[in-house]
Every structure is written in C-alpha cells, then in structure tokens.
C-alpha cells in the first residue's frame, strides 16, 4: 500500500487527513465532549458523556500500549515524555485551559468539529486560540514562557509511570502491563456500570472509536512515519499547537512544509462538515450578545496560552498524553478538571 506514495512523509500526510476526517465525522455524530460531560455530571447528574470520555481513555491507553509492546512504537519519543518538566506550569496551563473551555463553551477539539458544522462562534474561538497558542509557543510571550519554564523545571528520574515502576525493581514488561490494565479496568468498570451509558450507543461507541483513533494516530506517525534518515515526529490527536500551526501554514505555505497536524486539522473540518451536511445537522450559528462574544474571545485566549503551557488540550493530554502514561499528563489533566470546575461554577453563578 505504501508504494502509492512517493515517500513516507506523503503517506503520513494523507493518512493524517483520513484520520482527521474519521475523527471529525465520529465526533460530530457522537457529540463527544469532556466539557459537556463534566457539566452534565456535576450539575445535571447525567454521567453518560463523562463515562464515554472515560471509555475513550481506557481504549486509547490499552491500544497505544499494545502498539508499543507488540509493534515497537516507542512512545517515549513523544512530546509528553519530558525528563525535566515544570509541574507548576503544567498545572497552571491546565487550569487556564479548563477555565477557557468553560468560557468559550467548547474545547479546541470540539470547536473544530463545531466549526465544521457551521458554528461561527467556533471559528472565532479557533482563530484566537491558534493565535494565542503561537504567541506563547514562539511569539511575544515565548521568552517569558521559556524563562518561567527554566525557573520551575524539576529533574525527574523517569519520564513516565512504567519507567518509574521499572526503577522500583519490576520487570520491564510487567511495569507496562500493570498500570495499563489497572487504569483501563478501573475506567471501564466505572464507565460501564452505568446502565444509561450502556443503552446509549452514540456515547459508548463514540468513546471507543475515538480511543481507537488515538492509537491509530500513533500508528500513522510511528509506523508509516518511521524512517532511518528522516523520521516524522511521533504524535497523535492533539489540537492546540496544530490549530496554530495550521493558521501559520495558511500564511507561510511557500516557505514551510505541510505536516501531520495540519492535514489532521483540515481533515477534521471536512469530516465534520460532511457528516453535518449528510445528516441535516448543518446550522449557521453566531454570537447572540456582546457578553457571550467577550466570553468566547477570552476563552479562546486562555485555551491557547494554557494549552501550550499544559502541552495539550482535553484530547491532547486527557487521551493522547494519558495513553503514554507520561508524568506530565497527570498534573495537566488534573489542572484541566480543576479549571473546568472553576469556570463552570462561575458560569452557573453568572448566567448570561
């Protein structure tokens, strides 16, 4: 099959677009969303969407770790594996991201899916998010970010949980299998004990498929993208930096190569639009008031800055980062949950 492409990079680009298309279509269909899940769980006692997210976490973890153990995709080459991370910034970034997604009423991944189905609010949030992400990554905020990172970084003995277990004396294989099975079993048990979720295939099936797509992303960059001379950077579904990178690509395409993340973002917009048009769910929507727009813009800004500090969004750290069992994912995910709680509480007390 790979003979169809002129080189491995082109293969990664095409498969990245297909992966994005699949994610866009399935996420549009299942309305997969951590924010909505938390909101329903905390304020409406409806745990289906949150349990669907837990199921996606379990699937992503199980499949990504199998990919590592059976096909040798070295997840320790991914961005989440840092030997000297800055935990305060990861936590702060997570909180900012969580607050931002509550204010904007959707996280980065969800905004992409909504943008594909005619939601103009999501387009505005995406533009601000991409801009502020690159401001923090390489723009005017970058020197401060680097300075803060330098001040707060802590040297760890290991970059991920299995490595720590190995250092405690467990055999390598067991130290991967033990946390993988423990976490997936706990998450699956919690998700599936709810009869409501079991009766809602849109939620449980959506969660499982999205978990599988995470592993597929690792397979595309880690197996198709593997090359002795010019390996593609290992990555899977994540949205903060890729949205910024896509905006940059639109402006600088003559002097910069396309990448997996760019075709992924384009694929999601197309996939979501296709599914929305086919199902008749396409709907033009915009802001109805100035305060709503203020919240959307501020939310996008917080998500862009926070997402870069936390190394990812709800999907990027919650599913993709978590599936590698990297130490950086735990404070980031905790920060996102905490921020979402703060943001949603604020919204509940100050309805528009």
């Amino acid at each position: 099959m790979l003979e169809l492409f002129s080189d491995h990079r082109q293969g990664v680009l095409v498969f990245g677009a297909l992966l994005g298309f699949a994610y866009g279509a399935f996420a549009q269909w299942s309305r997969f969303c951590l924010l909505r899940g938390l909101q329903h769980f905390w304020y409406q006692r409806d745990g289906r969407k949150l349990r669907a997210f837990a199921l996606a976490m379990a699937t992503a973890l199980l499949c990504s770790q199998s990919l590592q153990l059976i096909w040798g995709v070295d997840l320790s080459q991914s961005l989440y594996m840092q030997r000297a991370p800055s935990f305060p910034l990861l936590l702060l970034g997570g909180i900012l991201f969580g607050v931002g997604m509550s204010l904007a009423n959707a996280c980065g991944a969800r905004s992409l899916v909504l943008a594909g189905s005619g939601n103009l609010r999501a387009w505005v949030v995406l533009l601000i998010l991409g801009l502020s992400a690159y401001m923090t990554l390489s723009g005017i905020l970058a020197p401060w970010r680097a300075e803060l990172e330098g001040l707060t970084r802590i040297q760890l003995n290991s970059a991920h949980l299995p490595q720590s277990l190995t250092q405690l004396g467990l055999p390598t294989r067991l130290s991967h299998l033990l946390p993988t099975f423990t976490f997936s079993a706990l998450l699956c048990f919690w998700a599936l004990k709810s009869a409501e979720l079991r009766q809602s295939p849109r939620d449980w099936l959506g969660g499982i498929i999205i978990g599988l797509l995470i592993a597929l992303g690792w397979a595309i960059t880690g197996l198709i993208g593997a090359d002795d001379f010019d390996p593609v950077r290992l990555a899977s579904l994540t949205f903060v930096a890729p949205i910024g990178e896509s905006l940059q690509y639109l402006m600088l395409a003559s002097g910069m190569p396309a990448s997996f993340s760019i075709t992924l973002v384009a694929g999601i917009l197309l996939g979501s639009a296709t599914r929305a048009l086919l199902s008749g769910e396409w709907n033009w929507e915009g802001y109805s008031s100035v305060p709503q727009m203020q919240r959307g813009l501020l939310g996008g800004l917080c998500m862009g800055v926070g997402g870069v500090l936390a190394l990812g969004c709800t999907l990027g750290q919650g599913l993709t980062g978590f599936s590698t069992l990297a130490w950086t994912s735990f404070p980031a995910l905790f920060g996102i949950l905490l921020g979402a709680r703060l943001g949603l509480n604020y919204l509940a007390r100050n309805p528009l």
Binding site: L137, R145, E149, D228, F229, G255
Partner: protein, 258 residues
C-alpha cells in the same frame, strides 16, 4: 499648480522604479563575514545564476533545519565544481558544511540538516576548478519553540555509531539517483554548558568520503553548524561498489561498502 506638479510626481515614480530594479539586478552586497570573504577569490566576478540554496523561510527547530544546495549553471569544457561551501552569518562559527564533489558527479544536488542559532542569512559559495565562483543566499527566521530543549546529558563519551546508507530503490542505469547516508553522533559544538556550568568539550565527525576503487567521488566536511547525526544525500550516475568512510576529530574511522 496642481497640473505642474503631476509630471514631477510621475517622473519621481519612474525614477524610483528604475532605481529599485537596478538594485535587484546588481550584485548582492557582500556580507561582512570573515570566513566567507576569505573563501571568495574574485569578489568582482561573482556569479549568481544557476546556484540555488533551499531552506525553509521559518524554522521552528533551529537544531535541524533541512538544507538543499543545487547547482545547474552551464560550465565550460573540462570545468567542474570543486567546492560548495555553506556559511551561516549568525552562528558562533560561520562554517556549516562543505561539499567537495569530483568531476564524476553530474547532478549537483546535496542535502543535509544544519544548525542555526538565530534568525539570519545563510550563504552558499560554489567554486569551479577554473576559478569561477557563484554565491547565493537565503534568509531564515528561527523561532523559539518549546519541547526542544532536550536535557543536558553529557554526550562527550558517545562516538560514531550505526552508519546507515540507503541506495535508490529503482535506479535506472546511467541516470543519476539519490543516495542517503546518516551516522549517529552528537556533534558536540564546544559551546554548550551543563546545568553545573561546565563547558562540554567539542566532539565532531570531521568528514565523510565516498569513493569507488580508491577514487574519491565526493568529500563532505562537517563543522559545528552541522546537525547532530550528520545526514548527507547526493546524486550519483552509477551506484555500485561504493565505499563510505566517516572520520571523526579523534581520527577514528567507520567504513561501509555497498
């Protein structure tokens, strides 16, 4: 009054256009770069046509910027390119990489990955065996990016390892085809410090020689501006019985024959 000013405005416009176009057709101003100026033998006869330097406009990872040098200007009978030298004006050491082809190489297209410490102009200077020289340049913006500040582990004990050579998959006889090579090596510059403030000693792969039956086809010289794990790709008409020899600054050698 208004009418009398109009011709003046028009002629000013024309003058600006003429001036601007004469600027673009003139020789590029020579950079103030000692290493490059030393390598230029006849500054007034520098040519620009036919020499291309390919680099991204924006590089997010200054530690490995993909570089491609191509040369296809017409040459006289018995004339060939002996050197293609790459210089980076903003690096602590301006020399980046040198390609020294022999007359046996017909398609002059070389790729590698280089280090750029900041936004700057990169130059390539080509010289022929008859003393003609070409110069091309390109500006690259290097941005600060996260996730790239890899740890400060001491790499000075790591020597060369794992040489890799990829011959073209479907080569047609007599047609130039691309050969890619890579060797693992940290290419320690001697500028880097550990967390405790000690300077790490320089350790470099010095050069790579590609030869057939004792005859050198291509020599590539590496400097601190060459990325870790030096990668070189080039084109050859005939791809058999090749010997690849990497030599590091300690005189250690690794040899592979294909």
């Amino acid at each position: 009054m208004k009418g009398s000013l109009r011709p003046l405005g028009l002629s000013l416009c024309i003058a600006t256009v003429v001036l601007a176009s004469s600027w673009t057709f003139a020789q590029p101003p020579l950079p103030n770069l000692a290493a490059l100026q030393q390598a230029i033998t006849q500054a007034d006869a520098l040519e620009t046509q036919g020499l291309n330097l390919n680099l991204p406009l924006v590089a997010e990872d200054g530690s490995a910027v993909p570089l491609k040098v191509q040369f296809n200007a017409p040459l006289a009978e018995g004339e060939w390119i002996t050197q293609l030298r790459v210089f980076a004006s903003g690096n602590p050491n301006a020399e980046v990489i040198d390609f020294e082809p022999s007359a046996a190489i017909s398609q002059l297209e070389f790729s590698s990955r280089i280090r750029l410490s900041e936004s700057q102009d990169v130059y390539v200077l080509a010289s022929s065996n008859q003393g003609r020289q070409w110069l091309a340049s390109r500006q690259v913006r290097v941005t600060l990016s996260g996730c790239l500040m890899s740890g400060d582990e001491d790499t000075t004990q790591m020597g060369m390892s794992q040489p890799r050579i990829a011959l073209p998959r479907q080569a047609q006889a007599g047609k130039p085809a691309e050969i890619r090579t890579l060797i693992n090596h940290p290419m320690e510059t001697g500028f880097r410090e550990t967390a405790s403030g000690e300077t790490l000693a320089a350790s470099l792969v010095d050069h790579l020689v590609i030869s057939r039956a004792g005859e050198t086809l291509l020599r590539v010289k590496f400097y601190t501006g060459t990325s870790a794990n030096p990668f070189v790709s080039f084109f050859l008409d005939q791809q058999d019985q090749l010997t690849f020899t990497w030599t590091d600054d300690q005189g250690q050698q690794i040899q592979e024959t294909r």
